[in-house]
């Protein structure tokens, strides 16, 4: 009682549906949901601020070696930016990450495609892919060091290995899942095997591949840090080791936070690429949101 649930009136006068049956240029009725529902970011920001304040207060009371506090970390950040150490380390990390990821992408899509298209290839490679996918790549680092030394090559290989499997497995799944009905369509128009691949099988696999890419990004970041820990110390992972050995806890947080930012950026980039490359999935994504 007393709550007016009738929809607020909107002016539709003079507006005609366009060819697709939709009327454009309308302002939807104002939602009567609560402030927080309409502004979800307010809660997120408040939550982060509260943790930062609590950390600041509690961290100052502790020995700074155990847990630094936000203001000290901010100071360390400024210092590492000024002396160029952070930039240099970030670039080193990015180099291994980008090259390694590119290799994983090209080889992963290639092998996944061949496995999906040719049964002989999938039967031949399947045992190795399954076994290696389930092997923690850290366990293979000593071997990689033996074969490729401690330099950039070893790091690139470790990144590639980490990112490779989600890409190869998803590409395989996408190619394999291509509907026979769609293949029949292009066959009925006289498509060659090559045209079947380029016009049906590959586009059909793109959403699968992009889902694999998103997984692979996360694994690649883990891979690069692990590589920097265990091979020649360099990059952001190297900074973590250096500062922790020096008990410079405030500085230690700087590469860690940079890695978080890097991971977030790369994941958003992958999501953006996914949206660009699979526009026909947009309404599916909107429904899932």
């Amino acid at each position: 009682m007393g709550i007016d649930r009738s929809a607020p009136s909107i002016t539709t006068e003079g507006l005609r549906p366009e060819a697709d049956g939709l009327i454009y240029g309308l302002t939807p009725p104002r939602s009567d949901e609560g402030f927080l529902v309409r502004h979800p970011s307010v809660i997120r920001v408040a939550s982060v601020l509260a943790v930062l304040v609590a950390w600041e207060l509690y961290g100052r009371a502790l020995n700074p070696v155990f847990l630094s506090y936000p203001i000290a970390i901010a100071g360390a950040l400024v210092e590492l930016i000024r002396n160029g150490e952070l930039l240099q380390a970030t670039l080193q990390t990015l180099r291994s990450l980008v090259i390694g990821f590119a290799i994983a992408l090209v080889v992963g899509i290639g092998i996944g495609f061949l496995m999906g298209r040719y049964r002989l290839v999938s039967l031949t490679l399947d045992p190795f892919v399954t076994a290696l996918y389930n092997t923690p790549s850290v366990a293979l680092i000593p071997l990689i060091q033996l074969w490729f030394g401690l330099g950039v090559t070893a790091k690139i290989i470790i990144v590639s290995m980490s990112a490779f499997f989600p890409i190869v497995i998803n590409t395989f799944a996408g190619v394999h899942n291509t509907s026979q009905a769609l293949v029949d369509v292009v066959r009925a128009y006289g498509a060659t095997a090559r045209q079947i691949s380029t016009k049906v099988v590959l586009p059909n696999s793109v959403p699968f591949i992009m889902a694999g890419v998103r997984l692979a990004v996360g694994r690649a970041v883990i891979g690069v840090v692990t590589a920097e820990f265990f091979t020649a110390i360099s990059g952001l992972g190297g900074l973590v080791i250096v500062f922790s050995n020096a008990f410079a806890t405030a500085k230690l947080f700087v590469p860690v936070l940079t890695l978080i930012a890097l991971g977030l950026c790369l994941t958003s980039l992958a999501k953006w690429a996914e949206r660009r490359l699979t526009p026909w999935k947009e309404s599916e994504r909107a429904a899932a949101r």
Partner: protein
């Protein structure tokens, strides 16, 4: 109607291998199928579900190979699938990652027609099937009727010698069905296309066709042939209520009752369109 024979099917047999308790066995789906379609003619293949009509359509298009017999297009053996005979699929089979325009261009892309001409022709056929304004929509944004219009435009845009339509309106609701039937008749008259139309609906076959081939249940084989002499242009109201329509409908129905098991068994078909 006399004219050049566009399609001739001669003694086609088809069987599928399947497991059985006594080892692999052959399921005979088409047995000694022979008929011909003249240029510009609209012929329906009518028969109960499972009589091999779809398989026949796929053999004519070249997606399946017969174990015996031959398919001739313009008195030459039909080679591998090609744009000379285009199939319109029951479930539309549009590529979900392509827009309406992109889907309509598909056959022309495979033919290797240069892009500017492809675009221009695609737009023309999109207009022909009444989809202007929807060129950049993706299939999932369209109703079933619009999806099949796209499928029809895709086949027509290849400018084939003939259209093979495999229960193209089977998955549509009754209203869409009648709407698209009229569109199809209009397009056929405007473009003088030769059509082989597979259906299990008596009404649809009588309304659309110049001639109906009635197929027996499995193994499928034409058991009767009826000429539909209803005048053109046809219209849902006038044609369906005409005396002649009802007569022909009755004749087809009698043949089906007599010669096939269309009205028997647990799979009653006709007015029911299950999907």
């Amino acid at each position: 109607m006399t004219g050049v024979v566009a399609l001739e099917v001669r003694n086609v047999r088809k069987l599928f291998f399947q497991p059985s308790p006594r080892g692999p066995a052959g399921l005979l789906v088409l047995d000694d199928v022979s008929f011909s379609v003249r240029e510009g003619e609209f012929v329906s293949a009518l028969g109960p579900s499972g009589c091999g009509k779809t398989t026949l359509a796929r053999i004519i298009v070249g997606l399946e190979t017969a174990v015996a017999g031959s398919v001739m297009i313009d008195n030459r053996p039909a080679g591998p699938p090609g744009p000379d005979r285009c199939l319109v699929f029951q479930h539309y089979a549009l590529l979900p990652w392509r827009t309406v325009l992109g889907n309509v261009e598909l056959a022309m892309e495979i033919q290797g027609i240069p892009k500017p001409e492809r675009r221009e022709r695609a737009r023309r056929y999109v207009e022909l099937v009444g989809l202007t304004g929807f060129e950049t929509h993706y299939p999932h944004q369209l109703s079933g009727g619009m999806q099949q219009r796209t499928g029809l435009a895709r086949a027509l845009a290849a400018e084939p010698r003939m259209l093979i339509m495999d229960e193209p309106f089977g998955a549509l609701d009754a209203q869409m069905r009648t709407l698209l039937q009229d569109e199809l008749l209009r397009i056929c008259e405007a473009m003088r296309v030769t059509v082989l139309f597979v259906t299990h609906s008596i009404d649809e076959a009588v309304y659309l066709s110049d001639r109906i081939l009635v197929f027996s249940a499995r193994p499928g084989r034409p058991v009767a042939e009826l000429t539909v002499d209803l005048p053109h242009p046809r219209g849902q109201e006038t044609t369906r209520s005409s005396h002649r329509f009802i007569e022909i409908r009755k004749a087809v129905s009698d043949v089906l009752a007599e010669r096939t098991d269309y009205y028997r068994g647990d799979r009653q078909i006709g007015a029911v369109h299950h999907d």
